[in-house]
């Protein structure tokens, strides 16, 4: 649970963010700016995706799904890495905001994973002739989605936030160790998806007319992710405050009745 006041400021700017009240104030100030920035970036990315980037010589206009699909897939992995980092923060340093961040990031990460799956499926229907193929990369993203849902289900199963935080942190780390193993096993099991083409040794293999809109789009979605994350963290802090106020109120009522 987040205890206000008990989180004393030790030193430095990052340490001061451990205070939920201070964090909420900072989040409230930055959210409009970040939201505006992501709106501008996404508008530019949409313009470039539709009017600047050429249609692919084989895939035609369907290639434009990529400008949504690739950022969503990248954020699905980024969000899980963030949750695993926050899990370490919960277990090792007992940072009061680490669990808030992980809990807020899980549904957003799950949404981006879902978006990556749906856009991939929409692209796969005209390209591969099927909505779904049991190809290695699709399958491992689907399993990542299931792991996200398992984390969310675990949070929802435990009433007390402090205990939920540490149990889910262990589960998140177990999942984090397993994601590469699952990726490896599923790769071994079947391979059809194209190999990595943006981040690889020797530079990207795609043309700059497509790469630049893709990067702008990825930047826009990443800023959007941070905006949503900050907003969800604020909500979570308020939700926990309301919970502790309700418990205090219930305690006061019952003790008044008893006396």
């Amino acid at each position: 649970m987040v205890h206000e006041g008990t989180a004393t400021v030790k030193r430095g700017w990052f340490g001061s963010l451990a205070n939920p009240t201070r964090f909420s104030a900072l989040a409230a100030r930055t959210i409009p700016w970040l939201g505006g920035l992501s709106a501008i970036l996404l508008a530019v990315a949409a313009y470039m995706a539709f009017f600047v980037a050429p249609p692919d010589y084989q895939q035609g206009d369907t290639v434009r799904i990529m400008f949504l699909h690739v950022p969503a897939a990248w954020l699905s992995m980024f969000a899980y890495t963030l949750i695993a980092g926050a899990a370490l923060g919960t277990l090792v340093w007992r940072h009061p905001l680490a669990d808030v961040a992980a809990r807020a990031a899980a549904p957003i990460g799950a949404s981006f994973t879902f978006l990556a799956l749906v856009t991939g499926s929409l692209w796969g229907k005209p390209m591969w002739g099927a909505w779904w193929v049991w190809d290695a990369r699709l399958t491992s993203v689907l399993i990542l989605f299931l792991i996200y849902l398992g984390l969310i289900a675990m949070w929802r199963a435990i009433e007390e936030p402090a205990r939920a935080a540490r149990l889910v942190a262990i589960l998140a780390l177990v999942g984090f160790v397993n994601v590469p193993i699952i990726k490896f096993s599923v790769d071994w099991w079947n391979t059809l998806h194209q190999p990595a083409s943006v981040f690889r040794m020797g530079g990207p293999t795609i043309d700059s007319s497509i790469l630049i809109p893709l990067l702008v789009s990825a930047a826009g979605f990443t800023v959007l992710f941070v905006t949503l994350l900050l907003g969800a963290m604020r909500n979570e802090i308020m939700r926990r405050r309301i919970r502790s106020l309700q418990i205090r109120q219930a305690g006061a009522t019952s003790s008044a009745r008893a006396s």
Binding site: L151, M154, A157, R163, I170, V177, I182, S185, W189
Partner: protein, 224 residues
């Protein structure tokens, strides 16, 4: 002292498993029923059943060891004996390991013994039976260890059973992939059979090394 405590714990767990109220062999019965039910869904075509045989046996073993593991720590949490185990000087990680060993002896090992008999129902030939039994022998300890982490995470929850399956099943996919492909590769195929066998062994060893720590950490949090 630790050695005596652990052997006493092993005897206690074995007794609890085989006496009335224990769940030894219940997993094997479930395994038998799963393998019996599947042909009703697939049809009585023996060629098809023989081809799918390793997959059926592995799915059956996965579900049987998963369904039997949810009480691994829950019963001890409910009656308070887990508190005593944690108070003792024996490291909790070793306690977890002993409990997993007994769970495997009473659930995993019977599955391995039953697998060739059930394989006959699916018209599998000698080599297939041997390979499936071998992969189950190597792979079922990993299922127990991974399941134990889920059991420890859900031990203090009131409705942990379904949640356990939801959080554990995705993590068991690598074991399933390499178990089935090792069994299939042993009876022909393009891949040398030794590779998946070795990876399966590696998964089991890694889970034996890592899972006790994760499970013990989860138990400590659960009882806070």
């Amino acid at each position: 002292m630790t050695g005596r405590a652990l052997s006493a714990l092993t005897v206690r767990e074995l007794r609890l498993a085989v006496r009335i109220g224990g769940s030894a062999l219940l997993g094997t019965l479930f395994f038998l029923i799963v393998v019996t039910v599947v042909p009703f869904a697939v049809g009585p075509d023996l060629k098809l059943l023989a081809r799918l045989g390793p997959a059926f046996l592995w799915i059956g073993a996965l579900l049987a060891s998963l369904l039997s593991i949810d009480r691994l720590f829950q019963a001890d949490t409910d009656d308070g004996s887990l508190d005593l185990l944690m108070l003792s000087s024996t490291p909790l990680e070793l306690v977890v390991l002993v409990k997993c060993l007994v769970h495997w002896l009473t659930t995993g090992l019977p599955l391995v013994v039953a697998a060739p008999v059930l394989g006959l129902l699916l018209d599998m030939d000698g080599m297939q039976l041997l390979s499936v039994t071998g992969t189950l022998l190597i792979g079922t300890p990993a299922l127990t260890m991974i399941g134990a982490v889920g059991a420890a995470l859900t031990a203090s929850l009131r409705r942990g059973g379904l949640l356990l399956a939801v959080i554990v099943l995705p993590v068991t996919i690598p074991v399933l992939v390499f178990g089935v492909s090792a069994a299939a590769a042993a009876t022909g195929g393009t891949v040398p059979a030794l590779t998946p066998f070795l990876v399966l062994g590696a998964l089991t060893l890694a889970s034996l090394a890592l899972a006790p720590f994760a499970a013990a950490a989860a138990l400590r949090v659960g009882l806070e």
